[in-house]
């Protein structure tokens, strides 16, 4: 039996650190949705495993807060994931698994009821001004991701084209298939989707 009891999908924008957006805090609503979902995911868990994408400039392997407030060094996803867990008030033991590179199954102890916290974003190429400029394939890709997350469709999530995900700078391409292989949900809910900077953020909860 899978030791995973829930999976929460959250974005990894640096702006999830509230101070980084300056006085405006443009992702306050997204942060709040992500923290709520994390809180719900960990409620019946005894341990947390955080899946962290590490690849290229979209998912830096080492990241430093440009404002100097947070001491930096670890991958961006590790820092954002830790921050969301902290905001959710989660004090469970948490292991951080960088993807790709390590075997996630080895991190899942059979005796634990594990909540998976899955960092990852959709396409970053949805308009002029976006990190990846405009790639028309973004729209269908993000729609497919959102549909899979909303329906709890692990097969669809696992079947996303990883090369296309790379071209669209979608960091979730790395972690979503790992989560899909680890857990089949009974219920699924997509609680937030938007692309305020031409980059798609999604929050979803599988249980």
């Amino acid at each position: 039996m899978s030791p995973v009891v829930s999976v929460v999908f959250v974005p990894m924008s640096p702006l999830l650190f509230g101070h980084l957006g300056g006085a405006a805090d443009p992702l306050a609503g997204l942060r709040s949705a992500a923290v709520d979902a994390v809180r719900s995911a960990v409620v019946d868990a005894t341990a947390v495993v955080v899946l962290v994408p590490v690849a290229g400039r979209e998912a830096p392997a080492a990241w430093w807060d440009p404002s100097g407030v947070v001491p930096g060094g670890p991958p961006l996803g590790t820092q954002v994931g830790g921050h969301l867990l902290e905001l959710a008030g989660c004090t469970l033991p948490a292991a951080y698994v960088e993807v790709p590179a390590r075997d996630v199954r080895a991190q899942l102890r059979a005796t634990d009821s594990t909540a998976l916290v899955v960092l990852g974003d959709g396409s970053a190429a949805r308009r002029d001004g976006a990190p990846g400029y405009i790639d028309e394939r973004s729209f269908a890709y993000d729609d497919a991701v959102a549909a899979a997350l909303a329906a709890g469709d692990a097969d669809a999530l696992a079947a996303l084209d990883p090369d296309l995900g790379t071209e669209l700078l979608a960091t979730g391409r790395l972690t979503w298939p790992v989560a899909a292989a680890a857990f089949r949900p009974q219920t699924a809910e997509l609680t937030w989707r938007g692309d305020p900077f031409g980059l798609t953020y999604l929050v979803a909860l599988w249980r």
Partner: protein, 286 residues
């Protein structure tokens, strides 16, 4: 001494480099000087206003219209020749990353290669050396030409800017560019968050302390807009504030859209520093 192609300047001179875009889509002027005559009118105006350098660019810095080598040459080379002929005293800079374009504009009379993408084409500094042109060493944090920044990160952005630009300067020196013809540019906004560009400005004295002359390109950029919450057409005051701080720290060349205002700020700071006598003083001296 600073030697920019045919022209030399004292170490205390603060120079305005006026932007002349031969593009349809640059973020600020939106094609205003894409046409030959409009661009030449702009050169006449900025020369009159006190620019020492014109920086002619054929490709928008960010993503936009595809501009291949041939099109970039078409936009810049003939124009450089016209400016060279009409303004023998003006330093002609060309904002390009391509060695092939650099070679053609140098033949047409360019004095300075403003390699805004930090040595992406290593042949460009060799072209500068070959033609006795000056060369700008730019910090781009590893970005490819025209690539927008994304989750840019540095353990220490100032240290990164110093290390990369000084390394480029040393490469250019080894390639044969004259020591007095090399400038370093921290490249505000290029592969940087606003936080990074603010820190670069705050600590610009550390770049100046390398001994290489520093060029700054601040004009109406996003870090000004994000800091003040203002769109591109309302960033002049913020630009001038950053200009004043940079001048106080010792930067030498200022790439700018608004020449008159920039010139006044530089003159004012130069006088505050004690490097320039006031234009005329009688107050309480009669």
């Amino acid at each position: 001494m600073l030697k920019l192609g045919r022209h030399t300047f004292d170490d205390s001179d603060l120079l305005v480099m006026a932007i002349v875009n031969r593009t349809r889509d640059s973020f600020y002027d939106r094609g205003a000087t894409y046409a030959d005559d409009a661009a030449l009118d702009r050169v006449r105006l900025v020369a009159e206003e006190g620019a020492s350098i014109v920086d002619i660019g054929g490709v928008k810095a960010g993503p936009g219209d595809a501009v291949d080598e041939a099109e970039e040459i078409r936009r810049t080379v003939g124009f450089v020749a016209r400016v060279r002929e009409e303004f023998p005293d003006l330093v002609i800079s060309v904002d390009t990353w391509r060695a092939s374009v650099g070679r053609e504009v140098c033949r047409a009379g360019a004095d300075l290669m403003n390699d805004a993408w930090g040595g992406h084409d290593p042949g460009l500094m060799e072209v500068a050396a070959e033609h006795g042109a000056a060369y700008v060493c730019t910090h781009t944090g590893g970005a490819r030409p025209r690539q927008p920044p994304h989750r840019s990160t540095y353990a220490d952005v100032v240290r990164s800017a110093i290390e990369d630009t000084v390394a480029l300067a040393e490469r250019a020196l080894a390639a044969g560019v004259a020591r007095e013809s090399l400038l370093i540019d921290p490249a505000h906004d290029f592969e940087k968050t606003t936080w990074h560009s603010l820190e670069i400005t705050r600590r610009l004295d550390e770049m100046v302390a390398t001994g290489w002359p520093v060029l700054v390109s601040l004009s109406n950029k996003d870090f000004v807009g994000e800091t003040l919450g203002l769109p591109t057409d309302q960033r002049l005051t913020g630009t001038l504030a950053a200009t004043a701080v940079s001048a106080w720290h010792g930067a030498r060349v200022y790439r700018a859209h608004e020449v008159v205002e920039t010139r006044q700020v530089l003159d004012m700071v130069a006088s505050i520093r004690g490097d320039r006598p006031p234009a005329g003083t009688t107050r309480a001296l009669a």
